[in-house]
Symmetry: C2
Subunit: 134 residues, 2 copies
């Protein structure tokens, strides 16, 4: 069970690369060469980032992507929400139905506490922080 899934992971790497790049526009081909990923796959991730307002794109000759926000304004949690649909460690389904004992369930209470910690930690991480550590 991974906390950070591939799409999120690749997105982080792509953004870090774009942020560090000298170029005005970074193309999928550049990212493919740098990150060693299949281009169509990379492109879909970039498109999702563009729709989410994290990247700006330009089509056509010499087109590509650039950041639409400062790295300090891009949070890891945003990317997790975008690519993984958020984080819900406590989701409790019993045979397709939400478990009827959820409110009193002792396990759930414990897991909820853990989840709160994880969320707090993740919310504190933005891309500027990750750049520094690089």
């Amino acid at each position: 069970m991974r906390l950070i899934q591939s799409h999120t992971d690749y997105a982080v790497r792509a953004i870090l690369f774009i942020a560090a790049s000298e170029k005005e526009m970074v193309s999928s081909a550049d990212l493919e060469a740098e990150l060693d990923l299949p281009r169509p796959f990379m492109r879909r991730i970039m498109q999702d980032l563009q729709k989410a307002g994290i990247l700006k794109s330009l089509r056509g000759y010499q087109g590509g992507f650039q950041l639409a926000k400062a790295p300090a304004e891009i949070f890891l949690m945003d990317l997790i929400e975008l690519f993984q649909g958020g984080l819900d460690l406590t989701e409790c389904i019993f045979r397709k139905k939400v478990c009827p004992n959820c409110k009193t369930c002792p396990i759930r209470r414990r897991v909820k506490k853990i989840e709160n910690y994880v969320l707090r930690e993740l919310q504190g991480i933005n891309l500027a922080v990750l750049m520094q550590e690089k």
Copy 2:
């Protein structure tokens, strides 16, 4: 992404029920009635618990399951390891290969810290604790 998967969850409920039961031996039929789960599925979970030394079983007429350990000696983490193969939040696979940047990866360092917290919390939870809260 669930921290506690169904098998683990059911196992906890089953153990709590057996621990609270007056009967010497609790059968799959009893558990089915109590937990509203399909019996064959329940039975497989019980068998896994038996093999792991958490339950003792008796076959034949009036047979069933009983605890092989005190609830305080059964840890939630044991069940997670048994049914979910443990917890590895940082597993980092890049296109089937372990990511070559793992050692220096800033995300991974952060996630590792979170994982350590989660493990510590989980290791502190045993079934006696959960019984009290019931």
